[in-house]
Symmetry: C2
Subunit: 239 residues, 2 copies
Amino acid sequence: MLSKNQIKSLTGLKQKKYRQQHGLFVAEGVKTIQELLSSNLILQQLYTTVTFHLDTNLETLISESDLKKISSLKTPNQALAVFNIPEMEILPESGFILVLDDVRDPGNLGTIIRLCDWFGIENIICSEQTVDCYNPKVIQATMGSITRVHVSYTDLKTYLSTTKLPVYGAFMDGDNVYTETLVSEGVLVMGNEANGISEAIEKHIKKRVSIPRFGAVQATESLNVATATAILLSEFKRR
Amino acid sequence: MLSKNQIKSLTGLKQKKYRQQHGLFVAEGVKTIQELLSSNLILQQLYTTVTFHLDTNLETLISESDLKKISSLKTPNQALAVFNIPEMEILPESGFILVLDDVRDPGNLGTIIRLCDWFGIENIICSEQTVDCYNPKVIQATMGSITRVHVSYTDLKTYLSTTKLPVYGAFMDGDNVYTETLVSEGVLVMGNEANGISEAIEKHIKKRVSIPRFGAVQATESLNVATATAILLSEFKRR
């Protein structure tokens, strides 16, 4: 049985403050945990209702009711694991890099990480206000892709003012992405769900691109940031 | 003040059974309601904490606490309106039609309706097991696009076996969509979140298309149905 203190420290990891303080994050569900175990991530402890046949120091068998107490899910899925948050790597300077300027919704970030995995994009650089990629809802939505895509957080103004890569940005009034010259090595900036790319970041963007709207004049104002990212990454990669 | 019976019948509309029985659905939030009011939809009743200056027979001013009782939202947004579900139209036989085979997640359907609005696709035909487009979470996610995109429900086997349009379907092992010949008038079938397109429907598909994966061998197994739909609609429309 888990002690009150154990439950408290595990549920504390739902909060970014505690994740950063302890350098730990939580993943749930047998399939996600198995994906994470087969990566370079370091397991701290596994709490499970079914044995994974790991070293017994790392595996603790618990009851369904204990799992319910520590889970973030409405329907807990057999196991919860605590992993070390990997060391922040040096910011990438080559290849294709996706930059997120204040994406706030965990589901959107999770979907975007999964999209990058699909399109072979290894690096995402986020503004410090972007939702934490170790948020349990993000981890859930990535379906294991978090092990193959590096997500870094930094001051975007500094990063974008020093990068030598061409910087593209998604805007409502940019040039038609279908006819624009795109590059295989570059940076693509996507903005916040409600406000798009912020003014401070806009200054650093060399090419403004848009997805043309085919609908009626009164059609939807904008696309969701995850679906817009899907379409733009598809355009950059297919050429 | 709303009576217990009024609250009961309004909250009942969260369920498909009651929506169908009464031919009514609910929309929430000032912006969504305004979009719906400016469409062909027929308003049955508006319950609001701020006046819309409508005919007083149709507008009922209520308290925040009453709104909380009838709302499906965690943070109710000033108003809730009840509209008539429009009459089922005749299934379209021309143009570009999106077909959904058992898409179950309300957020996915809402995002897909918004995508169709963006790309000027006026018709979606759903299997009877697809989530109801008048589900409050779908209405919320469409951001008003439900007024410009017609969503019909029917037996897909019958529809697909009689249509004269070319039928495309999204599969994991289809032909590369980037190099395939696509058409401006046709049907594109998207499958269920977990199981893809069902066997019974697969028989009616003439062209199987896929979005190529650029990531490592062990990369993510699949894309979310809404992001895959975004990429495929972009491919069909840009040519």
